[in-house]
């Protein structure tokens, strides 16, 4: 287990460094920040002065080192727009994003788990067919459109729910459903195929032969084993789930990191964009590590075999 963890930790560091390089390259290799900062009619000396001020006259590896050592201490520079530390801006907007992600995860699993299991147990039934069709449709659905249609129906026409914003539980309903609808189709299909595969295993036959009630076979023997691929997949989907949360936030004007990032991109406020990208990457990588550990704990084969 220790070696397994060590390997995962090394990978974590590699991924975070990779993402930080990408986000650094974004600003310093692809574009020239000074060109973005100064008005177009600024003089040549003005450019040089700013370049020096921001440390842009240094060689790139030196600049990256300054950026990376700062980032480790939570120092991503000051926002060019709001003149507060970028890190503080991003951290302040983190909780709404995490709440939304969790709410979406709950809705998605509440739809996917029961339907996936039922569809697997009653294969080729009407329910199964309907679920499969819904999943195919759900996967093709652009969720930003789904969110807008929900707003049009439930906020504009029926006036049941607030169209956007953040605060009460009622604000959570439509964004959580939108994000849940993003997660549910794929999770449902994976739960279904996981349960089907497990139900064909020898130990299920053994349990049945022993005379264990069918209900208990499903709950104790099949579901537990089907959980492993589900946890892995949901964990690996976490990055995509955050991606879905980003889309959802922009539709519902949710005051999270994604809205902040899009605003910052519009304002060309790159320290904030860099900080948001790196922090989200760290969160995703840590969640993936936790998932690996949990799966390793449930399933000893992975610990040994990996």
């Amino acid at each position: 287990m220790r070696r397994y963890l060590a390997r995962q930790l090394v990978q974590l560091v590699v991924v975070v460094v990779g993402i930080s390089m990408l986000s650094f390259a974004l600003l310093h290799v692809v574009g020239d920040p000074v060109l973005l900062l100064l008005p177009q009619n600024a003089g040549k000396e003005e450019f040089e002065r700013y370049r020096k001020l921001l440390g842009l006259d240094q060689p790139l590896p030196v600049q990256y080192w300054t950026f990376a050592t700062g980032a480790v201490r939570g120092d991503f520079g000051r926002s060019w727009y709001a003149d507060t530390p970028a890190f503080r801006l991003v951290v302040e907007r983190m909780p709404p994003t995490l709440y939304l992600t969790l709410a979406g995860l709950c809705v998605g699993l509440l739809i996917a788990l029961p339907l996936g299991i039922l569809a697997a147990l009653k294969r080729h039934s009407l329910l199964d067919t309907l679920c499969t069709m819904a999943a195919v449709a759900g996967q093709a659905m652009p969720i930003f459109w789904l969110g807008i249609m929900l707003i049009i129906v439930f906020a504009v026409q029926l006036k049941l729910l607030p169209a956007s914003g953040y605060g009460t539980w009622r604000h959570f309903i439509m964004p959580a459903v939108t994000l849940g609808a993003f997660l549910a189709p794929i999770t449902m299909r994976l739960v279904r195929s996981g349960v089907i595969e497990v139900m064909n295993r020898e130990y299920i036959k053994t349990a049945r032969a022993k005379g264990v009630a069918e209900r208990m076979v499903v709950i104790k023997h099949a579901f537990r084993n089907a959980c492993i691929p589900v946890i892995t997949v949901v964990g690996l989907q976490f990055g995509q789930l955050l991606g879905g949360a980003i889309v959802t936030e922009t539709v519902f004007a949710w005051p999270g990191v994604a809205t902040l990032t899009v605003e910052s991109i519009r304002n060309q406020d790159f320290p904030v964009v860099q900080c948001a990208v790196v922090l989200l990457a760290v969160i995703i990588v840590v969640v993936n590590l936790l998932v690996d550990v949990v799966v390793g704990l449930i399933d000893p084969r992975i610990r040994v075999g990996a």
Binding site: S23, L27, A140, F144, F182, I196, V262
Partner: protein, 306 residues
Amino acid sequence: MKAIGAGRAAAVGDTVESRAASTRPGRALTRLRRLKWGVVALLIVLVIIASAAFAPWVAPDDPLAVDIRHRLAPPAWMDGGSPRHLLGTDQIGRDLLSRVIYGGRVSLVIGVAAVLISASVGVLLGLGGGYFGSRPDAVIMTLVNVMLSFPFVLLALAVVAVLGPSQPNMIVVLGIAGWPFYTRVVRAETLALREREFVTAGRALGMSHLRIMFGQILPNLASLIVVIATLQVAQVIILESFLSFLGLGVQPPTPAWGNMLGEGRVYMLNSWWIAAFPGLAIFITTLAINLLGNALRDWLDPHMKL
């Protein structure tokens, strides 16, 4: 933006099922029924492609023709709608149906071009990594893991914001987004094929590595690559629409489904149709492409590990 990973992982579920179902006598029937859906999907895709390609002849109106007197006209079947504008008009009186038809051009061109880029890059890296193994393989797989664990929406947003939102930039960014999916699958298959007799025989006959890779291994992967590429077109279209929806993609007045949806959002309080129909167009297109991809998989190789 739907997770690009979603399509792939769901496909994994299908394999398990089709493998488990392969012993059942009903399988041939299920397969035929699925293919019927595939034919329907193919027809829809062809209609969409044709109407986009021949837009000047198909569209009833000029997509850019402003008609202020008939602004915000509802669809023809609603009160106040006129048969001149079947789907109504937008905020400056442009015919919505014509704009939806023209909007398909941008999405399809970007979708196909981006997929060509990511397929070429991804297949090359997957073949190389899988065939040669060891250090290059490890580097490639680390890159793949970094890319797959990160919500690409966020990075695409930032990159497009720096490079500026032009169509070639979008193609490059979205093309780079997709390659890990090909690499992962192609690498796994190459690893397995490398050990097969025909490769050993080829090597014994003195074939060069390149000839074995491209002449012997690659042809075996063709159907796999075609299926992934088809499914990826749908994902790219969703991602492109989302960027355009945020105003960071295709710029108005060029009609694209995404930017129409973004403009329509402002008017959804009274004129729901401006946002609804472009989104519906995205949904139908991606759904048809996904169904077509699934049918292709079943048709080419029902046991495909995808």
